[in-house]
């Protein structure tokens, strides 16, 4: 019963945040809507007993990623109003039709068989730090190390872009 109430409240909040992000003219409002969606998804993780993932969601997404987004929105400037004229001929109509088709396909597939594989008769998962760490450092050790490499490459790439990004006017770089 508690889960149902949580699902309804935060499901509405998540959808509202997502629609706000797409609809809002001001990107800062969009970022706030996305933040609301991410907090709601963290609540859903807790409902699905993925406690550690919920904590990571709040710290990484709502904390780090959205702060980075807000920094860049401030840097790029929010006052430049985006004109809503669509340059491609039938992009809007095609996009809406595609979205309706996709939603209908998901609903049809969901009604037919929404989960693949057979349910494994095991204990219900409990996403504690211990359980996830055990899995991560035994079964998924090599992918884990590869993601470390990926993060280093991404950080080095971002620094390289920041330093050498504007090749035409190097005197602007030092700012």
């Amino acid at each position: 019963m508690v889960e149902l109430v949580l699902f309804v409240i935060f499901g509405l909040a998540a959808v509202f945040g997502g629609v706000t992000m797409v609809w809002a003219r001001n990107p800062v409002y969009g970022a706030m809507g996305l933040m609301l969606t991410m907090f709601s998804i963290a609540v859903f993780y807790v409902s699905n007993s993925a406690h550690f993932v919920a904590a990571v969601q709040v710290i990484i997404y709502a904390g780090a990623v959205m702060t980075l987004f807000l920094f860049v929105i401030m840097l790029v400037g929010v006052d430049k109003a985006e004109d809503r004229t669509e340059n491609l001929p039938v992009q809007r109509e095609l996009a809406l039709g595609l979205l309706v088709l996709f939603g209908a396909g998901v609903l049809l597939a969901g009604r037919a068989a929404w989960t693949t594989g057979v349910g494994i008769a095991g204990n219900p998962v409990n996403g504690t730090v211990e359980a996830i760490g055990d899995e991560l450092f035994h079964k998924w050790l090599l992918p884990f190390e590869v993601t470390a490499l990926l993060l280093i490459v991404a950080a080095a790439g971002a620094i390289a872009l920041a330093f050498f990004g504007s090749g035409e006017d190097p005197e602007e770089v030092e700012a």
Binding site: V15, G30, Y61, A158, G165
Partner: protein, 101 residues
């Protein structure tokens, strides 16, 4: 009335569609990027719900890898947007048309 993992998957599909509409309908590179994040979050939610249904923890481990890739993608993507903005003074993807054939 209990909330089955299917409900979470339906909600994840709805959020994914909302994110996709952001990609298709908006022209601001930052908003498009946030839409990508929303789509990744929706997929993460369905991973966790499926892991709960199947009683395996691999769903939650997958969420970690998706989060790492998303973080790397955000770092590089925002750096590219800032670099483009420095030279072109715009964040609209419609105005970046030098490579038009």
């Amino acid at each position: 009335m209990t909330v089955t993992p299917g409900w979470y998957m339906a909600l994840a599909a709805l959020l994914f569609v909302i994110g996709m509409s952001g990609i298709l309908l908006r022209r601001n590179a930052l908003v498009m990027f946030m839409s990508v994040e929303l789509m990744l979050n929706a997929v993460n939610l369905s991973f966790v719900a499926a892991g709960r249904e199947l009683n395996v923890i691999d769903g939650q481990v997958s969420v970690f890898f998706v989060m790492v890739v998303a973080a790397a993608e955000v770092v590089v993507g925002l750096a590219i947007i800032v670099a483009v903005f420095r030279t072109r003074r715009t964040a609209s993807v419609d105005e970046l048309s030098e490579m038009r054939g």
